[in-house]
Structure formats: structure tokens, C-alpha cells
Symmetry: C2
Subunit: 509 residues, 2 copies
């Protein structure tokens, strides 16, 4: 340790191979003279400067008792901070106590029930994006903003702040359509049908999708069964010019980057407030350059939105914020009472999707109808299409085979996956314990079984649902089949499926 | 990695020398087969079992890229989890996904504005005490309970839950008095005068005090200048029997243990809601076996409580909860407009205290008066003392030298510190830049200067305040002296003191 002219203590930087995800963590040895003399404490925040009194990076302190992790004259940095500081191992760095970000005062005001203005949200979001907030400070902000506390004007302020603190893609002034489902319904993979239909109609639809986080498959996971989904921005622009659409993964890290930071705390907290949801979705779409957006809100007893009154409330906030942000936003409430289609899991969903695109008579009618409905609404974003005509145009495109043709063109442009579709080699059938009519299917349980079976990591794992609401079944009939690739996963999934049924049956009169 | 009969993956335990304070953190290598196959993610929570399907310990996952920290077949544990699990390095342990604690549902209800019952607080507090909550979950609970959201009935429920989830000291059915100041006033070290007076009157006053966390000195830090303060429960009982009092540190880790967990998140968030404060203080006192409690709430523009209306509100909650818990609670609002006494820092405060006990004519009148006031109120907890007589009894005890005698007996019983009182060797005087009358002294600035100077770590460091509110000063007169033991600290403290004055002066007419 040395003291420089301005009396800031210096330490040698040491990269510590620990990934603390979105939180900056720094490590100091308990017997490090700086730790003792400066009165630092575990969990206190410190500023790390490349040059004394330079622009600091902020991190939370963990105290180390093992010199092989961080020695007495070193400052250990987790991967996340190390990348931000961007200087080599052994560099002399300076540390000081971090003053709490001034925007925390606004968070306290929010917690005590006040409304915040755009400037305040901007300061908070900027501090979050620049890693000046610890996870617990982000949690305090999220809870302060939750259900009871956010006016729609504030949702707009937050959305704008999230867009303004990241990059924005410019598609050259063209109309760009997008769709988004708020999620929660297994098998609901309409995107891969909607995109080729809309593109075949001639509209631009550059679709970046996520991988699954808590669900058994994201669109990116499922598209990956057919084609490569990880492309550079440059590649994507070429594919878009040629095919008017793509279905790719990610590349959105710099778009509304606050979103990822907020989600990293929301998810473990299982928080999903309306305000945060709207700001999260719209900021990403606006930053991604969408001009027209269709939002799908499934409503059902085991969906994210449980009744149409909540759905309506959510719709209004989407519309208000979308309009004010200059994004043409339409919202439809759809049937979320059970999974859409039959397959749940990347390969199983891909099979469903291809059957629809191929006009296979065995295709799921539900999936087909829902995709046509959504595609029809997006096609009506076309100035030249009369209201009510979109569905018919979409159906023509699908039935004529032009949708399938476009899908194949997109797959080829992205690079066809050379490996064939393979379902998990392990299969177990869950049968009805009694006869009756199916009254309900639990989305959450179906999703859990499919995840336990290995989806989305194992592409061939998942669940095939044989019977849907309204179907009559006799005792012993197969309700669902579990597919898995590994024994352990397989047994977990079977245990859950057999413990408590995902189906509600009403016996015959 | 092996799979045991119940298909729970096992790993070899590895102690990782990182102190993550009150949060359980476990480390898995990114290429560890379990990490990949089970779909664990950074920040997700895992259960760690000593035997497959045994009673689990819960931890948050960090991902490691360095095999020297955690190898592919190992599960790394931070010190905190390692101690809880209590099995040696290399032991085979089993891990699984942790299901979120069910009490989190109550936290969500609290966040959306509902009231929680005792049973719900008990479940939440039990889960917190058993380390089933991550820091962000604790933050969510605290914010949900903050200012806008906690009825006094709920504060009672929380207090009771905090008492019921820890140990309770039993002093054999005797009346046991305690005092507590909500803090924020530098130099306010009345305890070391009150305790010997009350004990000399013959009442029991076993006083466990804290070390400073954010202030320049806690009572334990100051008492340590005179005597050893770290004793076993057994020792303390002996001292109490002999002297009717002690002034010791800690030993309270098992009393209302939730308190420490909550504070570890409150502090970095700078949250200090009334409900949490009351539950925190009362649960600790009740668990420590107090039957009678005097609470001191200093009120002033730079105190924790800024005006008497807020003070009154706080008082009512203390009284309500104290009464319902069967703790005789009295609350007094005191003058918190400036530091009490002249010294701030362990040695400086000790000098002040001893002058009062020795009836030195140069003793601080303020400190003497305040201590007598508080001691008088506690003496009135004695059934045989008439209301209004306590102060006179306390003064008699002080003036007769019996308080000093008792203090020396307590010091000897605890073990006298053989090292003499030494003030920091570095001294700097801050002088008035103009003439005038002192109108205000900033408690927070005084505390910061004393801390920067090295208090409480360096016992001889701190601040001596020469002039108080109402005093007339001429330009160049010494307002305060800074004492430090090390140059770097000394310079920090001087820089802060000279940058912005802690004194508000009004010039003469």
C-alpha cells in the first residue's frame, strides 16, 4: 500500500474469477492496512479509481481471509467490475469510500409514496446502468415502484429514462413491426408463424427474441432447432434487407440496458408489477427500432393475468405509454386458460409450428388460429390494408404455402441447423386416473414438468399434451407424454407429474 | 460428481475464505456438470444438504471461473454458510434448487399494502433468521414495511416475532432496568454515568452495549478505555450479583437474531423507519431480560428526529408496543440540538465522564445534568421512590462520591484496562473565521470529522468541542480541536473540518 500525493490509498488490482452477475463486488483482505485504517466494512460500497480522484467505478466490498484469493496489498475484482475498469492485473488503483448515489434520495421519496418526475427517473436509471446501485438498492427501487406506487405518467417517465440511457437501432426510417407476448403460456410459440406471414406480405419484421429464463422454451431456443440464431448486427441487417425478417437471439444488451439490471433483481424477487412490465417491454422495443407493436396478453386462471379486468388495466398503460413514446401500440387479450398447441419444449414446439406452416391436417388448430389472428392484426399496420382484412390476407399467405417458403428462406439466410430434430429418447405417458371432461389445465405445472424434463437446455425434452379443455377422456387414456434425454431429469419430471395432476377433470353426470 | 440413490447431485465441500457478511453465498464452477445440467444460474438460490434430502442450508449462487477458488467437483462456501453447515472441508454434500420461502408471499402482500398478522411476521422472521432470505428479499421486506406501510399493531407483531425467534435471558425474576438512546448525538455517553448511579441505589442494571457502527464511538468502545468489555454470560452474571451492574459488549447475537440481519440491509440502504426502529430496540431489550426501560429520543435539526411532532409519534409507538409486550417503557424527548459534553471519541468521552463522576468543577454541566435526569427517571422505576424524587436521589449519589466508587468497583470487577488513557498525538485547532454568537452545531458533521480522525478504531482520536450553542466567540478563537494518531486520518479530518464549518454563527448586532 502506498499513499499518493492526494492521500488516496492505492492497491494492486487483482482479477478474481468470480462472476457476481450484475453486481459489482470487490474483495479486500481482512488484514489489508487500507481495510483497517479506512474503516471499510463488509457490504460497504467503495469507489475504485484508475488514477487518483479519477472517474470511479463503484463496488460492494466482500472481506477475504485467504491471501490466495486477494493478498494484503491487492484489491480483488469480480469479473463484472474487472471488465468495467478495463486495466490489466497488477495495475495500481486507488480506492475511497463511496458516497451513496444522490438519486437514492429520489428512491426514498418514491418509497414514502411520492411521484417522481422524468429527471428523477433518468438519474436513478443512469446510476443503475453505471453500476452505482447495489442489488439491495435496486430492490428498494423496485419495491418502491410496485403495484401501489406508480402512476401511468411515471411509467412513461421510467420508460423514457430507460430508452434514453441506452443505444437505439435505426432501421433507416422504415416502418418496422414487432410483436410481444407478456408470457406465461407454455407452447405459445406463434412468433415463428407470424413472422414469415408478415414478411411474406412485404412488411419489415426484425425479430430479436430471448432465450427462456424461467419458462421451458423461449422463441430463440425454439428457432435454434431450425437455424443459427446468434448473428452480428451487420449480418442481421443483410438478412433483413434480403428477407424482410429474421428471428434471432439477443444483441440487445445495449438497448435499454437498465432493463437487464432491473430484471436481475425482479426475477429472484418474483416481482412483476404492471409499471415495471410495461416499461421493460416498451423500452426494449423502442430501442430496437420498432414503430408498430402488437402486444398479446393471455388471460386465464393460471396465466400471468388472471382476469380481464386486470388485463384491461394493463392494456391501458401499454397504450398510454406507447402513444406518448411515438410507438403505435395495439394490445389484444387472448385466451390464456391452457397451453397453446400440444408441444412444450424446443423440438416439440418446432414440430407443432412446422405442421401449421406445412398446412398439415394434423396441425394444432389453436396454434394456427392464434397465429393467424396476430399476423392479421400486424398486417393491418399496413396503411393499404382495410380494417378487418388482415386475417384473410394472413390466411391466404399461409394456405398458399408462401409462409412456409418465406420461413425456409429465413432459415437458409440465418444458416440451417444441420442436426435433425430429435425428441428425447426417454418417454413416459401420464394417464387419466378417472373418466370425465377436462375443465382446466395448469400452465404453471405444465411448464414446471417440461423444465424438470430438461427443456430448454435439452432441446428434445419437454411435454406433449394430448388432451385439451373440453375433451372427454376415459380412465387410462394418455393425457400427456414426458420426453427427456437424461434419467435424472426424467425421474424428476415424472415424480412431479404423478404427484399432482396438471388437469382438472369433471366426472360425467 | 456422483448421483446418489435419490438422484440429488453431490459435490465436495470447499471452504472459500470470503466473508459475505450476513448473506450465504455458495460458489460453483461454470464448467461444473451440476451447474450445467441442473440449469442453475448466478444469483439463483440453492439448498445444500449434509445428507441427501436432509435439512437444507440455503445460499445464493456465484459462478466461478477459477479452479483454484472452486474446482469442477466442488461446492465453495463463504465463511457464513461454512459455519452454518458445520462439516469439514471435502465432505460430500448434496445440492438442489431452493424453492422460494413460502413467507415471501406475505412480503408480497405487505408490499401491495396489506396488514400482516403475528403468524405471518413469525414466518418471515424465522426464515430470515434461518438465512432463507437473500439480501434483496430482506430489502423487499424492509421497504414494504417502511413509513407508509406499518400499523402499530404490526410493529407489535414484528417485535414479538423477533423476540420469539431467539433466546431470552432470564435474570431470575428480578426487576431489571435498562436505558436506550436512539442515537445520532455525538458525545452523548450518559450510560457510563447512569449505570453506576442506578446500581449504587441498589437496582439491577446489566448493560450490554454496542460498538460504534456509523458513529465515532459506542458505549462499548468508550467503556473499553477503562475496562475489559468482552465477557462470557457466566462472568456477567457473577459481576451482576456482586455489583448489581456491568457495562459490557455484545453477547447479544442470539437475542432477537433477526435484528442483526435486518440492520445489515437497513444500514447500506440508509433506511430507518419508525416501525423497524421500535421493533429492533424493543426486541433486543426484551430478549436481554429487561423489565423496565427508559428511552431517550434526542430532538434537533441535525438529530435523527428533527421535530417534537415526529418525536411524539415515535414515543407513542414505543409505549404501545412496550406495554403490550409487558415491558414497562418510559420515553423522554431530550435536547438534540448539539453534541452533549465536549469530547467525541472513546478517550475524549471517557475524560468527560470521569470528570462528572469525580465531581470535577471543570466537568461538562450538560453531560452531568442529562445523566442525572435519566438516572432519576430510572430510579423512579423503584416502587419505593416517590414520583419526582429520583433526580434528587441520583444527585445525592453522584455528589457523595458513591457513583464514582461504584464505577470503580464495576471497572475492577470487569478487569481494569492496564493501559493509560492517551489522546492522539496529532492535534489541530479549528478557529472561528469571524466573531459572533453560536446558533447551531451540526451533529452529523462533528461525527464525520471524529470518524475521519480515526475514532472509534483509534481510541485516542476524535474531536474536542470548545464552544457550544449560545457562546460568544471572537474571530480566531478555537472552536474545536481534532485529535488523531495517524497522519492520513488527521489530514482527512482537517480537510473536512476546514471545508465546511460545523458551527453556525450569527454576527453581533
Amino acid at each position: 500500500m502506498s499513499q499518493n500525493s492526494t492521500d488516496m490509498p492505492s492497491l494492486k488490482l487483482r482479477r478474481v474469477g468470480i462472476d457476481t452477475y450484475k453486481e459489482n463486488v470487490a474483495y479486500l483482505h481482512r488484514d489489508c492496512p487500507v481495510y483497517r485504517s479506512e474503516g471499510f466494512q463488509a457490504l460497504s460500497k467503495i469507489e475504485i479509481h484508475k488514477v487518483a480522484n479519477g472517474n470511479p467505478v463503484i463496488a460492494v466490498l466482500n472481506v477475504v481471509d485467504d491471501e490466495s484469493i486477494t493478498a494484503l496489498d491487492q484489491l480483488g475484482l469480480s469479473e463484472q467490475v474487472y471488465r468495467q475498469l478495463d486495466v490489466p492485473d497488477g495495475t495500481e488503483v486507488f480506492i475511497s469510500h463511496a458516497t451513496p448515489p444522490t438519486s437514492l434520495k429520489s428512491v426514498h421519496r418514491k418509497i414514502s409514496g411520492e411521484r417522481l418526475a422524468y429527471k428523477e427517473y433518468l438519474d436513478i436509471v443512469s446510476d443503475i446502468v453505471n453500476s452505482r446501485y447495489s442489488k439491495i438498492e435496486i430492490a428498494a427501487f423496485l419495491v418502491g415502484c410496485s403495484e401501489t406506487g406508480m402512476e401511468r405518467e411515471e411509467v412513461l417517465n421510467l420508460t423514457r429514462a430507460m430508452v434514453d440511457t441506452g443505444e437505439r437501432i435505426d432501421w433507416g426510417g422504415h416502418q418496422v413491426s414487432d410483436k410481444h407476448c407478456i408470457g406465461g403460456i407454455p407452447g405459445n410459440r406463434t412468433t415463428m408463424i407470424v413472422v414469415p406471414i408478415v414478411a411474406a406480405h412485404g412488411m419489415l419484421m426484425p425479430k430479436t427474441s430471448s432465450r427462456a429464463i424461467t419458462s421451458p422454451a423461449g422463441t430463440a431456443d425454439t428457432m435454434e432447432v431450425l437455424a443459427f440464431v446468434e448473428h452480428s448486427q451487420e449480418n442481421l441487417r443483410e438478412i433483413l434487407t434480403k428477407e424482410r425478417a429474421f428471428i434471432a437471439w439477443g444483441g440487445t444488451a445495449n438497448l435499454a440496458p437498465a432493463d437487464d439490471m432491473l430484471i436481475s433483481v425482479e426475477r429472484p424477487l418474483s416481482m412483476d408489477s404492471i409499471g415495471q412490465m410495461v416499461a421493460s417491454i416498451l423500452s426494449k422495443k423502442i430501442a430496437a427500432g420498432a414503430t408498430h407493436l402488437l402486444i398479446d396478453i393471455p388471460v386465464g386462471p393460471t396465466a400471468k393475468i388472471r382476469n380481464s379486468s386486470d388485463g384491461l388495466k394493463l392494456r391501458k398503460v401499454f397504450e398510454y405509454v406507447g402513444d406518448k413514446m411515438g410507438l403505435h401500440t395495439e394490445v389484444i387479450l387472448t385466451d390464456g386458460s391452457q397451453p397453446i398447441g400440444n408441444g412444450v419444449g424446443p423440438v416439440l414446439e418446432t414440430i407443432d409450428i412446422m405442421k401449421v406452416l406445412e398446412n398439415d391436417p394434423a396441425a394444432s388448430l389453436e396454434l394456427r388460429e392464434k397465429a393467424l389472428q396476430l399476423a392479421g392484426r400486424i398486417i393491418e399496420f399496413d396503411f393499404d390494408v382495410r380494417g378487418g382484412q388482415g386475417y384473410i390476407i394472413a390466411r391466404d399467405i399461409l394456405e398458399s404455402g408462401r409462409a412456409l417458403e418465406k420461413m425456409n428462406a429465413i432459415i437458409d439466410a440465418q444458416g440451417r441447423n444441420p442436426n435433425p430434430l430429435t425428441l428425447g429418447i426417454l418417454r413416459h405417458d401420464v394417464v387419466a386416473m378417472e373418466s370425465g371432461i377436462i375443465k382446466g389445465i395448469d400452465n404453471l405445472k405444465i411448464a414446471s414438468i417440461a423444465r424438470l424434463a430438461g427443456a430448454p437446455m435439452d432441446k428434445g425434452a419437454g411435454v406433449y399434451i394430448h388432451k385439451k379443455i373440453g375433451d372427454t377422456v376415459s380412465q387410462g387414456m394418455v393425457l400427456l407424454s414426458i420426453y427427456a434425454e437424461f434419467n435424472a431429469d426424467f425421474n424428476f419430471a415424472i415424480a412431479l407429474a404423478e404427484k399432482e395432476s396438471s388437469f382438472t377433470l369433471e366426472s360425467h353426470e
